[in-house]
């Protein structure tokens, strides 16, 4: 399998995806389209966490914080000044946000950059910490962001949140960002840069003694992860058309972590697969929580059951199949044809 063929096949796969999206947009109902949208957003978020944790070994629990930054920056930029005037009933919004409005693409980009800026800001102090301390410090960062969002009414409209965000995030935008994220991260981890990241993950001391500037690599990986988390947050906020500080609780980070662990730490293919499976599973489990009428009988819904099942799945994976769906293996066209050609067809 040479490189040109692989590129052609990749393009063909993107074409198939485009046809699928076109058909889905035309024929499926709003709820199903929303789920397909959520899949793209979740994949973006999980890919970014996999870059930070799966490939660089930085156990970060700050995703909800980065997402919040992305979501707020993007929402404040796509809302028109007039709308903002209406929303901010207690105090007017602060200066740059009170007058500017940006196109959706720019707003998402700036959301990501805002998150990346915070990534740099907290990266300097916390990336010196190792393992679980890093986790708890980044978790602390996410909580601080949430408390700030609650208490800075001129920036975020406080606990009231932002409502009526114009919904630009359709299938095309979400999947374009999703593919862009996938492309960037695949390129990155396959490059020499990626090798350095994995060396740091596998043995930090050895990597350092081989002359790798550990802090610099960690910082770049963390910042890039933060950027894509911000992008994911921006898209999510736009998709739901309303955001408030309560949305960015720790459970949001937990969901993303769940996708990464299920897919396999250090496997991008696994993350994409798990992103699809878990998003669908999460939506499907909503049925358990709603009352079902079955042949004239009303079976009451069980609130909370969704997360019970969900956390049990995570526990089972971590206890019995720690490598997740894919381990560290990746999809390749070569492997694909070997699998379907039973070893003969495409050699």
């Amino acid at each position: 399998m040479n490189k040109a063929n692989a590129t052609l096949l990749n393009l063909a796969a993107v074409g198939c995806l485009a046809v699928f999206l076109w058909a889905a947009g035309r024929h499926l109902d709003g709820y199903k389209v929303q789920i397909i949208n959520l899949i793209a957003v979740n994949i973006i978020l999980a890919l970014s966490l996999n870059l930070i944790y799966g490939f660089t070994g930085l156990f970060s629990l700050g995703h909800a914080g980065f997402m919040a930054i992305g979501a707020y920056v993007c929402a404040m930029l796509v809302l028109s000044p007039a709308q903002k005037e209406m929303l901010f009933i207690l105090e007017p919004p602060i200066w740059p946000f009170s007058v500017v409005q940006a196109p959706f693409f720019v707003a998402v980009l700036l959301g990501g950059l805002g998150a990346a800026a915070f990534g740099v800001l907290i990266g300097f102090p916390v990336l010196r910490l190792g393992g679980d301390y890093l986790g708890i410090a980044t978790l602390g960062f996410a909580e601080i962001i949430r408390v700030l969002a609650n208490n800075l009414p001129r920036v975020t409209n406080g606990a009231l949140g932002l409502k009526g965000i114009p919904a630009y995030a359709n299938l095309w935008w979400n999947y374009a960002w999703c593919l862009l994220t996938l492309y960037c991260i695949v390129k990155l981890v396959r490059s020499n840069f990626g090798n350095a990241l994995m060396a740091i993950r596998d043995d930090e001391v050895a990597a350092k003694s081989m002359g790798i500037n550990v802090f610099k690599y960690k910082m770049i990986s963390f910042t890039l992860g933060a950027f894509f988390a911000g992008v994911g947050g921006a898209l999510l906020g736009n998709l739901l058309t309303t955001i408030d500080p309560k949305m960015f609780l720790f459970v949001l980070t937990f969901n993303v972590l769940m996708i990464v662990v299920t897919g396999g730490l250090g496997s991008l293919t696994g993350t994409v697969l798990a992103g699809i499976v878990i998003t669908v599973l999460l939506e499907w489990l909503r049925f358990v929580e709603n009352p079902i009428s079955f042949g004239g009988y009303e079976i009451p819904g069980i609130p909370g059951m969704r997360m019970v099942v969900f956390s049990l799945v995570l526990l089972m994976i971590i206890l019995f199949r720690r490598e997740g769906i894919m381990g560290m293996r990746e999809f390749s066209w070569k492997g694909f044809f070997r699998f379907f050609g039973r070893g003969g067809g495409a050699r």
Partner: protein
């Protein structure tokens, strides 16, 4: 600020601080031994409070009996959690057990939503704890004296167990070096179970008293106190029981006094602890009384 108001704030801070301290002891003991941040500890705290509620409301037990029963059952839950979710991962990378504990935390929280429902519950409070006493110009609930006093007793009890008894010696040995302790004949798994039991019992006691002080039960009530108590443990120097106590009380005072003297910061109250955490980790990662941990190559 008048002196009577100051006394009031002082007592509030002492109450809150001692509740943090009790939870922090559990964190610090488990971290000292297994190097595991037990995320599920906040949920153990919550379960303790709910079990008392059940004992009093459903089984009509007298309050003291319900409290003792709840502490016992919560301690067993803690042991069970370790047995099921952490012990199989002893040889795995450390972060696996951490993720497992996050899973347990969400599991218990949502199980509580399923079993107890998410509707906040009113807590039964014995009358002798809630009758307002007026001492001089200060209005005091017996509660605000009872909580620190009982906490002190429990803390002294756990310090006695860890430093003066044989199982305590085992705990300290495992904290130093788990493999060598095993070779020297310390029943490692049993001692670890005991540690979880003891830590969970303290968390349950704290949860029960928390529910007396802030009388509302919710499945998520353990999350924020849990995080803050962990921060208290880091502040004091993780692994050190005395450090956890000092850290907990200190955190209680910082929270109450900052809001008391600067009411405009009240909305940011939940962020203090986290800012404090990042500052400590930056300048003194071993906390106030912690031993230095070195990277082993």
């Amino acid at each position: 600020m008048t002196s009577s108001m100051f006394v009031q704030h002082f007592l509030n801070a002492l109450t809150l601080g001692s509740l943090y301290a009790l939870i922090a002891i559990g964190y610090t003991m488990v971290y000292g031994i297994l190097r595991l941040i037990n995320f599920a500890h906040g949920e153990i705290f919550m379960l303790g409070a709910y079990f008392v509620f059940w004992g009093v409301v459903l089984l009509h037990l007298p309050w003291p009996v319900a409290v003792l029963g709840a502490i016992l059952i919560t301690a067993l839950t803690g042991v069970l959690v370790d047995r099921v979710a952490y012990r199989p991962l002893r040889e795995a990378p450390r972060i696996s057990a951490l993720i497992s504990s996050i899973g347990v935390s969400f599991f218990l929280q949502n199980l509580a939503v399923v079993v107890f429902s998410a509707i906040p519950r009113q807590v039964y409070r014995p009358e002798w704890l809630t009758k307002v006493m007026i001492v001089g110009k200060v209005r005091v609930l017996p509660l605000t004296l009872f909580v620190p006093a009982l906490s002190l007793v429990l803390m002294l009890g756990s310090i006695y167990i860890v430093y003066k008894t044989k199982p305590g010696l085992g705990m300290r040995a495992i904290a130093k070096d788990i493999e060598t302790s095993r070779l020297m004949g310390v029943p490692v798994n049993r001692i670890i179970s005991l540690t979880f039991g003891l830590g969970s019992a303290l968390a349950a006691a704290s949860g029960i008293m928390w529910a007396l002080r802030y009388p509302q039960l919710q499945p998520i009530m353990g999350v924020i106190p849990g995080f803050k108590a962990f921060i208290a443990a880091v502040l004091g120097g993780i692994g050190s029981i005395g450090g956890a106590v000092v850290g907990g009380v200190l955190l209680g005072f910082v929270e109450i006094m900052l809001v008391a003297f600067m009411p405009e910061l009240a909305g940011f109250r939940d962020a203090f602890a986290f800012v404090l955490l990042i500052v400590i980790l930056l300048f003194r990662p071993t906390g106030l009384f912690g031993e230095k941990l070195e990277d082993k190559v």
